[in-house]
Amino acid sequence: MSYEYLVEAEDVTKEYVLGSMRIRALEGVDLEIRRGEYVSIMGPSGSGKTTLFNMIGAIDKPMRGKIYVDGVDITKLDAFELAWLRCRKIGYIFQTFSLIPVLTAAENVALPAIFAGHSQREATMKAIELLTLVGLRDRLNHKPPDLSGGQQQRVAIARALINDPQIVLADEPTGNLDLRTGRAIISVLRTINEERSVTVVTATHDLKMMGVSDRIVYLRDGRIERQETVADIELRRTAD
C-alpha cells in the first residue's frame, strides 16, 4: 500500500508557555509531503521551523491538529509506538550533529539498528557500508571529538539512514558548517534522496538549500507564507 503523501499535517497548532507569556509557535499549518520529495522549510528564526519539524519527527505533540506519517496519525501513538516510529521510519539529523561522544563513528551509526533489534554483527556491517557511502571508510573507529564538523555530520547522516527510514529530517544540517562543507553535506543529502528515494525534509535558512530542493515552504510567524516548487525557482532565475 502506498499513499501519495508520506507526511500530512492538518491544522497543526502549538503554543509554548515562556514565563508568563504564551507564544504561538504554529498556527494551523497544513502541509503535505510526497514520497521521495526533497522539501526545505525556510523561515527566519522564531518562525516555527523547528517546532513544525519536531511535530513531523514525532519528538513533540501539537496542541491541535493531526499529523499523519505514512498513513498513521502520530499524535495518537503511545510511548512505545513512538519509540518504534522514531527508530524505524524516521532518520534525524541535527544542527549540532548530536552524536554520542563516547561511542566510535561505527557504533554511533549502528546504535539505531541495535534498538531496532538487529544483532551487533548485522548492525556493524550496515554501519560500515553506510559510512563508506558517506566517504568515511577510514574513520570507522574514530570518536566524535576526533572528527571535524563535516565528518560528524556525515556520521549523523549515516546514522539517520541505518534503519532505511522513509523520511530523513534534517534541522539546520549546515548551520554549524562552513560554506564548502555545507555544500558537500547538502549534496550527500540530495544523493541519498535520489538514489535511495528517501523523503528528505530540511528546516533551514541556508539559501544553498534552495537549488537542490523540489519544493520550498516559507514559514513566517507560525504560518505557511508561500510555497515554491523547483520549477518556480527556475522560472524566476531565467526571468532575471
Binding site: 498513513g71 510511548a79 534525524y92 552524536l99
Partner: protein, 202 residues
C-alpha cells in the same frame, strides 16, 4: 485509508551486552568522576565494615555485645547516609550532563526503560567496585588496628565466617546504596520528553 499501528513486534530493544558496553564507555570517558563516586562509596563502606569488625573483636574481648553494637549501628547509619547523598549528587550530575545525549537516544528509538537501565548499570558497577574495595579496606584496617593494640591472638578468636559476613554485608550495602542513590536521577531523566532533553543546553 488511515491505519493505526498494530502491536505486533513494533517495539525497540536494547540488549544487555550493549547496555554494559555503553555504561563502561561512559564511565571510562568520565573517569575522574566515576573514580570519585566509587571512592565515596568505598569510604563509607570501609567505615561501616571497620565498625562492625571492631564490634566483633570487642565482643570477644569484653563479652558484652548488646551495648557496644547499638552504639556502632548509629555511626554506621550516619556514614551510609552521607554516602547516599554523595551518590545521588554524582548521579544527578551525570544525568544532567547527558540530557542532550539522552534526547538523542530517544530520537533514535530508546525507550524510558533503556535509559534507566544504562544508569542503573553504571551504579551497579560503581557499587561493586566501591563495595569490594571498601569492605576489604575496612576489614583490614580494623584487624590491623586491633592487632597492634590488643594483640593478634584476639583477632583470631573471632570466627572467620563473622568476618566474611561483614565483608558481604558491606558489598551488598554498597550496591544497594549506589542503586538507591541513582534511581531517582535515572527515573527523572528517562521520563523527560525527547524534545525537552534535546533543547537542554548546559
Amino acid at each position: 485509508m488511515k491505519q493505526t499501528l498494530t502491536n505486533q513486534a513494533k517495539t525497540t530493544t536494547f540488549p544487555i551486552t550493549q547496555v554494559l558496553r555503553f555504561s563502561l564507555e561512559d564511565m571510562k570517558a568520565k573517569g575522574t568522576r566515576s573514580r570519585i563516586t566509587a571512592l565515596s562509596i568505598m569510604l563509607s563502606v570501609a567505615f561501616m565494615v571497620f565498625l562492625s569488625t571492631m564490634a566483633s573483636i570487642l565482643a570477644v574481648m569484653v563479652g558484652q555485645t548488646a551495648t557496644v553494637q547499638t552504639h556502632y549501628y548509629l555511626m554506621e547509619i550516619i556514614a551510609l547516609m552521607v554516602c547516599f547523598v554523595g551518590v545521588t549528587n554524582t548521579m544527578l550530575m551525570s544525568v544532567t550532563e547527558r540530557f542532550k545525549e539522552i534526547g538523542v537516544m530517544k530520537c533514535l528509538g530508546a525507550r524510558d526503560k533503556h535509559v534507566v537501565i544504562v544508569f542503573l548499570f553504571e551504579a551497579l558497577i560503581l557499587g561493586i567496585l566501591g563495595g569490594i574495595g571498601g569492605a576489604l579496606a575496612g576489614l583490614g584496617i580494623g584487624m590491623i588496628t586491633f592487632g597492634l593494640q590488643v594483640g593478634w591472638e584476639l583477632i583470631t578468636l573471632v570466627p572467620l565466617h563473622e568476618y566474611a559476613r561483614h565483608v558481604v554485608t558491606g558489598l551488598v550495602t554498597a550496591v544497594l546504596l549506589s542503586e538507591a542513590g541513582s534511581l531517582y536521577p535515572a527515573y527523572y531523566v528517562a521520563r523527560l520528553k525527547p524534545m525537552d532533553a534535546l533543547r537542554h543546553e548546559l
